[in-house]
């Protein structure tokens, strides 16, 4: 997937999430903002209520989105489902899309009524989503190969070394100059500013300057990740402990919720 296509892919999903959220908020604002005790007497109660045609539909569609997003991601990640066609990076982004939009639909399904056992599922869902956001933060800080598999410290260091060599050859830096650039123990901005001023002294054209500056940034990022790799890997272990149980709780309670709902005769439009 080209960077442009990837941006479109990400942008489309983000747009769908934003538009859907705005639409749902706008169309049901009058109902959702009412106190719980007043909602029954709203003229569109039967439409927006959690068991209503609209509200119930949101719950079902949102749950299915979450289930699809989770199952597809786990199937690919754990069991190599469609390994050849689904890049783990893109699938994770799709997982994030479905597991963001799905909870939003579920949020409107609840009509912002957060009580009862279903609320546990809801808050679990919230916890899963928030932990997902945190996980994503950690995830991107652990270098991976193109298949999304984690790289070990040694592999990362080799990668870092290769990057330095590339800089040295492409940027016409002497080993001392290069050492000066990367050893500046300063803030990111201070360090990059020092690199930029050094580049200017080299009398390079703008294209080369940009390319080399990008390499410097990658070297800097990779250097940072090598520094934090052990800590991030440790955090990621614990993150699993937080993310997955809530997902499991949500799943269990949603199953109970669905069973109870069906058992009591609430079959949506069927």
């Amino acid at each position: 997937m080209s960077p442009t296509l990837h941006k479109f892919y990400i942008g489309s999903m983000a747009l769908v999430v934003i538009v859907t959220t705005i639409y749902l908020g706008w169309t049901g604002y009058e109902f959702y903002q009412l106190p719980i005790e007043e909602r029954f007497y709203h003229p569109h109660y039967d439409w927006f209520k959690p068991s209503g045609a609209f509200g119930h539909g949101l719950g079902i569609v949102g749950t299915l989105m979450i289930l699809i997003g989770v199952i597809l991601y786990i199937a690919r990640k754990k069991y190599g489902f469609m390994e050849q066609y689904l890049r783990i990076k893109y699938l994770l982004e799709f997982h994030i899309f479905l597991c963001t939009l799905g909870p939003i639909l579920v949020l409107f399904h609840t009509s912002f009524k957060f009580n009862g056992i279903v609320s546990i599922a809801f808050w679990s869902m919230v916890a899963v989503v928030l932990s997902g956001v945190a996980g994503r933060f950690i995830y991107v800080r652990i270098p991976r190969n193109i298949q999304g598999q984690e790289l070990g410290l040694e592999q990362v260091q080799i990668l870092h070394q290769n990057l330095r060599l590339g800089l040295q050859s492409n940027g016409q830096f002497s080993p001392d100059e290069l050492e000066r650039i990367v050893s500046v123990d300063n803030s990111k901005m201070g360090r990059l500013a020092a690199a930029k001023s050094l580049l200017k002294e080299k009398n390079l054209n703008r294209t080369d300057q940009a390319r080399i500056f990008k390499l410097i940034k990658e070297e800097y990022r990779l250097g940072n990740r090598i520094k934090n790799l052990t800590r991030m890997q440790e955090l990621f272990k614990y993150w699993h402990v937080a993310h997955k149980p809530f997902a499991l709780i949500m799943l269990v309670i949603v199953v109970i919720h669905v069973i109870v709902t069906l058992a009591l005769g609430y079959k949506w439009i069927f």
Partner: protein
């Protein structure tokens, strides 16, 4: 993975323990006893959401109403809905389960149409525990159930059980009093005549019974009039008032009422038997004594005292009878002839009213005895006092006929002779317009000569010292003859042939200086040739 499962299990367990329910929200206060997982199926039916039967199993008061087809829940509109359509749950403790717009609620659907004053009262004026008979329903806080449609369920029975409970038979919805719908004709005692105008309180007295205000409407005796009315006759005429009286008025007696006035000192006779009792019994009661010794004690004296006399005591019956109207009288010609004014001549043939009606009123006294008291004196001062003393018409006229005059003309010194004796007085003394109206009366004549009355056709031909004496030639005999004229005593005695010819042969018309044409009698020329041509 094991850690994940363990943590998840712990969290789920904690969640169930903490929340201990699977409900989508707290139940309202009214249903608090149904909170908890074990109670879901108290309301919910497996596979069939919430059925009305579950609701009605608890809410038996509603079920009874529906079975009895009473109240709002038995209405067709509600019948098409399920309980949960109107009464939702799981909306929190404070949720109002049966909220509805009390101002716009169509009470007709509750099986009781609000009319009149019921429209304006507050709902809670009626829907309050005090008016709910069922103890179970009465306990339901804020309920609108349990009301009966009977008036007495809410209103005090003012009549304290003395009348039927169906108040609307008499009372309208706007106000208790007056009882607009009550029709006294539906009661055992129907109001007739004056009873309709009597204030209700006259018969239905207000009192206090059982410590409360009370008005008596039942157990009122009405079989006899005297149950309510005083007997002004003190029982002297029996107890059956209606034999004489009716409901229109005490003073209005029944036509053909059976009261026998003959029992009284004044038996009704003649026209008295036909007049309404109150015509005479106008004051007090019928037993109030009436002085009937004299007619004018009751009747107005039309004659305004003209016939009143104390000794002997006069009374109408001297001239009138009770069997005839007052326009009829016993006074006849004979009585009139015995009066001071004897009727004779034309007076006998004159209608009474001609003399006795003055200004549309009959008058019999002080009419006067002289002619001029009744008749107009047309002569006034035209006739000398000498012949018409004190306006005494009888000097010339008589009661037989006005036209016949018996005046002795000789008294005037101008005796009527000849033709004068046969002509009407009017010929000489009246000038009449068209022979009808007298325009001039001439009685006091200073000129007694003929030409004062007769026309002088001869002019001054026979005038002697300015006066013409007609009788020197004419007589006053029948035909105004010229018997007193002797031609032979004139300057031209008639001789020979002259004595045989007609007068006109010589005396011919001639136009005089005053341009009048007259026959010339005094011919001053006596020569033959003056008449005869040569």
């Amino acid at each position: 993975m094991r850690i994940v499962i363990i943590i998840s299990t712990i969290l789920v367990f904690l969640a169930f323990e903490g929340i201990a329910q699977i409900s989508p929200g707290p139940l309202s206060t009214a249903h608090q006893q149904l909170e908890g997982l074990k109670n879901c199926t108290q309301c919910h039916t497996i596979g069939d959401k919430i059925t009305d039967q579950k609701c009605l199993d608890c809410h038996k008061e509603i079920q009874s109403l529906i079975k009895e087809d009473r109240g709002f829940h038995a209405s067709p509109e509600v019948g098409q809905k399920t309980c949960i359509d109107c009464h939702s749950e799981h909306h929190g403790l404070k949720f109002d389960l049966d909220r509805f717009d009390q101002k716009t609620f169509d009470h007709k659907k509750a099986g009781y149409v609000l009319e009149g004053a019921h429209k304006v009262v507050d709902c809670r004026d009626c829907h309050k525990p005090d008016f709910i008979s069922d103890p179970a329903v009465r306990k339901l806080e804020g309920t609108f159930l349990g009301m009966e449609t009977s008036c007495l369920e809410c209103h005090d029975d003012y009549h304290q059980g003395t009348l039927e409970n169906d108040c609307v038979q008499c009372h309208g919805m706007n106000d208790w009093a007056p009882a607009d719908l009550f029709d006294h004709n539906d009661a055992d005692f129907k109001l007739l005549g004056a009873h309709k105008k009597v204030d209700c309180l006259e018969c239905h007295q207000e009192t206090v019974r059982a410590g409360k205000e009370f008005q008596v409407f039942t157990d009122i005796a009405f079989n006899k009039c005297t149950d309510c009315h005083d007997d002004t006759h003190d029982g002297s005429l029996g107890t059956n008032c209606t034999s004489c009286h009716n409901e229109s008025s005490w003073s209005s007696l029944n036509k053909g009422n059976t009261f026998n006035h003959g029992m009284t000192d004044y038996p009704l006779e003649g026209l008295h038997a036909q007049v309404d009792c109150k015509e005479c019994h106008s004051k007090g009661s019928y037993t109030t004594p009436i002085d009937f010794s004299n007619c004018i004690n009751c009747h107005e004296d039309y004659h305004q005292g003209e016939f009143v006399s104390e000794n002997p005591k006069s009374d109408c019956k001297e001239c009138h009878l009770v069997t005839s109207p007052f326009t009829s009288t016993l006074y006849r010609i004979e009585e009139h002839q015995a009066s001071d004014f004897n009727l004779d001549g034309a007076h006998l043939a004159t209608a009474c009213f001609t003399c006795h009606v003055s200004e549309e009123r009959w008058s019999f006294r002080d009419l006067g005895e002289n002619c001029v008291d009744c008749h107009e004196n047309i002569h006034k001062d035209k006739i000398s006092e000498k012949y018409f003393q004190e306006e005494n018409c009888t000097a010339c006229h008589s009661t037989s006929d006005w036209v016949s005059v018996t005046f002795d003309h000789q008294l005037t010194g101008w005796e009527l002779e000849g033709k004068h004796q046969s002509v009407s007085c009017r010929e000489c003394h009246f000038t009449e317009d068209n022979g009808l109206t007298v325009t001039e009366q001439r009685f006091k004549l200073e000129d007694n000569t003929c030409i004062a009355c007769h026309e002088n056709v001869h002019g001054d031909q026979f005038s002697v010292q300015g006066k013409t004496d007609c009788v020197s030639c004419h007589t006053v005999a029948e035909k105004w003859n010229v018997e007193n004229f002797k031609h032979n005593e004139t300057l031209f005695p008639l001789e020979g042939k002259h004595a045989a010819i007609d007068c006109k042969e010589c005396h011919k018309p001639k136009v005089y200086q005053d341009q009048e044409e007259r026959v010339e009698y005094k011919i001053q020329k006596f020569e033959c040739r003056d008449c005869h041509s040569s």
